[in-house]
Symmetry: C2
Subunit: 280 residues, 2 copies
């Protein structure tokens, strides 16, 4: 967590163990256990609170319980960082939960295809967390903030029905590509503020790649997106913790937002070589 | 301007022609006219709306009308970018105004030492702008936002008395060093929001170096400071337009804030080689 003493510390969900990341996809398809263990350790040392674990590759390989199991076991061999189980297949997620030594996070549920009705009973009363996307079966991704806030309220009702705490939920407001919708972040930010206002214990998360898809010099969209989203109430992101510029800016933004007493967290992260000119 | 179609486009005041910047201080002390002309052109090409022109060097050299005149003439020899006349000495500023071919900006006035009562009459009814610091003779820099907002209101009263338009004023809320005051940006942001709410035509500006003074890896404070300040209503900064990461993040933040139709400004700035991997 960054901003540990803050009302809303920021949780880093490390993104690299994902079959859609080319180097990881290659490792998954080739059964390269050493590479998976290496990036599990590296991401943990860089400050990951959760390690995302998404076995499916771009070639359609890996989206099965066997590959998920292989990855979970490799990660748990080298670290005890909680795992974010990431699959479009809810049945794989529910089976994989049983393999985890410490409670992690389900990625993801939503109102679509009754996923919430399968996932919420499984995490109720536990320390498991869950990413909840704000789309639905009828509208897909609602085009405006109102539609997504509406879905957020429906999810919160479901959570109450199933006995899931707001603190277990990481809402993903679903950011569209800025290049095709130049009001995409304006909408995202509005949804974030509504969630914070209505359920301050709930969390907000997002991936960072969608916003800058097809744009040049993507870091100059991704970094401002992260910073502006934090200021809008987002307290988590699925991000590469080895991206030193991104991490430096997250620590810097957290300090600026008044969440870092005497800036000690910023200074210690710098000393730990998490950003700035590389020491080792 | 960045975000030309926006309610609050962002004005770039280029910072390099300043005797406290080591390379420029050397050029001023050695009378190196070529270097001054070179950075006047380079900063203009990089998108400067104003060229700050601050003759005083760290050795106490240059804070006089003669050096100011030398710099103004060099700048005007190579470009017609408006000049921000920057000196602690109001008499030099008022004399230097007469040398400028196009209306520029006074940097700065404040309630201190009756500076406003000298500067405001000189700019009333003209197209000149003025940076106004929010300190005062009694308190220096007020320690909290209320004190600075109080001074902002006093300045707005003075502006009305002298017939100066809100649009002529670039308020500097005065940011303290984050390392000695970890609530410094929280205060700064509050002052920004109050100014936008009470005088939406007025501008807000700041230097970027003070916030990160004595901190490691200063860019990871400066870039988030710029982005978070833009989101709080700051629409100008005294900044190095040749700093490609900073400029990329300003264009990115402007696009994210919904101020860049189809992201065309971002894409054009990238094509013009203002940020991203250097093309030339």
């Amino acid at each position: 967590m960054i901003g540990e003493e803050a009302d809303r510390p920021v949780y880093i969900i490390a993104e690299k163990i994902n079959g859609f990341v080319p180097r990881s996809g290659k490792a998954i398809e080739e059964g390269d256990a050493e590479y998976i263990k290496e990036i599990a350790i590296a991401q943990t040392e860089a400050g990951a609170d959760y390690l995302d674990c998404s076995p499916a590759t771009t070639n359609g390989y890996g989206d099965n319980l066997e590959t998920m199991t292989w990855l979970i076991n490799l990660i748990q061999e080298v670290c005890d960082t909680p795992i974010t189980l990431d699959s479009p297949n809810v049945d794989i997620l529910l089976e994989a939960m049983k393999l985890c030594k410490v409670p992690g996070m389900i990625n993801s549920a939503s109102l679509c295809e009754g996923k919430i009705d399968k996932v919420f009973p499984a995490i109720a009363g536990t320390d498991w967390k869950c990413v909840v996307m704000l789309d639905d079966d009828v509208r897909g991704i609602p085009s405006n903030a109102e539609g997504r806030i509406d879905n957020f309220r429906k999810v919160m009702q479901k959570a109450e029905e199933y006995g899931v705490d707001a603190d277990q939920l990481f809402f993903d407001p679903l950011v569209e590509t800025l290049g095709t919708n130049d009001q995409s972040f304006v909408c995202f930010s509005e949804v974030c503020r509504a969630i914070v206002a209505e359920a301050p214990e709930a969390h907000i998360t997002s991936g960072l790649s969608n916003i800058s898809f097809n744009m040049p010099s993507r870091k100059h969209i991704n970094i401002p997106f992260m910073i502006l989203s934090m200021f809008s109430g987002m307290d988590s992101a699925i991000v590469d913790p080895l991206n030193r510029d991104m991490m430096g800016c997250i620590y810097g933004a957290s300090a600026l937002m008044g969440n870092d007493e005497f800036c000690m967290e910023y200074i210690e992260a710098y000393r730990d070589d998490r950003f700035g000119v590389q020491k080792k």
